[in-house]
Symmetry: C2
Subunit: 256 residues, 2 copies
């Protein structure tokens, strides 16, 4: 008898997030599931790892088909602990999410959801990060679940190149409102910060991070932001070789 697939699930919204529950429901059809997720929200934690404190794990579920562990650490800590301490073997698939909110364009750099997926890629696991463009806790994941299932099937069928993971973003809407899937490149843009400066009761300043997204190429139809704006699910393949080969050629001409 063929061994059942082993699927690692994590996220950055924390183990209690409805998006994680939705993702577990989808992947349960594909194999045995192990959830290793942060105890608390780790939004914006990017690829951070915990080195100054030790990590702690608490068991939340322990059945053959579903195990769940909560980690007091970052999403990347969860992946590393899973690989090294909690899984009996290398998983066949790593999925992260479903994130409450977009991780399109440059948000991939800040995202804990994508930090975990990228870590999976580095560790040569087929890895996908899923995000729904709805920050609310009672977001409707029904269409997202259908697309998530479809994309996972394709990744299991076709595989991914070594070191690559997928950044999947899903627009808000019912199934009939979403126009399909687009394979995209990462939109060129950045977050423009606008700190909200306040005074505490002791007259000391403090700052809350806020901001808005600036898109350098809103008309580019091959980008993830364009796809999402036009009601498509976007898939961007992400690599972990950050070398700019274009700038590398230029540097070689320098007198250095």
């Amino acid at each position: 008898m063929k061994e059942k697939r082993l699927i690692l699930v994590t996220n950055d919204d924390g183990i209690q997030a409805p998006g994680l529950k939705a993702l577990v429901e989808v992947v349960s059809e594909f194999g045995n599931v192990v959830v290793v997720a942060p105890i608390e929200s780790q939004s914006g934690m990017s690829h951070a790892i915990t080195t100054k404190q030790p990590l702690r794990i608490s068991v939340r579920e322990d059945s053959p088909a579903l195990k769940a562990y909560a980690v007091k650490g970052t999403p990347v800590d969860c992946v590393k602990l899973a690989m090294n301490q909690l899984l009996s073997r290398k998983p066949d698939l790593l999925v992260s999410g479903i994130n409450h909110g977009s991780n399109a364009s440059v948000s991939v750099v800040y995202s804990g959801t994508m930090g975990a997926a990228i870590e999976g890629g580095i560790n040569q696991i087929k890895s996908i990060g899923f995000s729904l463009l709805d920050y609310s806790r009672d977001a409707d994941f029904s269409a997202a679940k259908i697309y998530t299932k479809k994309i996972i099937s394709q990744v299991l069928l076709n595989g991914l190149e070594r070191g690559i993971c997928l950044n999947v973003n899903i627009p808000v809407g019912k199934m009939h409102e979403i126009r399909g899937i687009k394979i995209c490149r990462q939109t060129d843009g950045y977050w423009q910060e606008e700190y909200d400066k306040r005074k505490d009761p002791y007259n000391r300043d403090y700052y809350w991070l806020t901001g808005y997204f600036n898109n350098f190429e809103p008309e580019a139809e091959d980008t993830d932001e364009w796809a999402l704006k036009n009601s498509y699910v976007s898939i961007v393949p992400i690599q972990t070789d950050f070398t700019s080969h274009e700038q590398l050629s230029i540097l070689k001409q320098w007198n250095i």
Copy 2:
């Protein structure tokens, strides 16, 4: 009279780190310096941003040639706060470091030093992260300072493409032991985790992250790990478009 350059300095080892002091000494020759650095060590914080707590700033130096602010936040928070709240205008240069320890190869993904430099690149500032391959607090920065100065001069002269920053790593050694500078690509490799599992006095498990680096291509002479092993300073140009164009072509063939 030409306005003096404005140079933003940050790091991930914290505002008290000797490596930061060494970097400030170097850049003071190039213009007015504003340091915005974390109060405490933020090693391994990657591109993390603080969204769940507000940020606080304390002034450490306030002269025309040198201002210094300590931030209770991550290296990327420091860059964002500097840009939005603390600097009078966009800086002409951002430098991060000099880190105590290597950020070569895939360590760029986990590094707070490089998180700050990458954030500078995203914000269209000429940005460089510097790291010395010596973790000790009393590391000798004398040769590192000479190379740092040389590289900064070249970046100010030639500029960098939009969105690009440099990842500079410097081997341990005196000037005569370092063989020069190599322009490199990021080495293909990963960190193999080995958690140190311990029991606390109450018999509860806890885990410390440890590990070692696996190099997939130790013989490749165009990589940063090779350069460093052979006593060269390595420069890898880093981009923030993480799209894998190779995998993108493959995905377009999928039946999805």
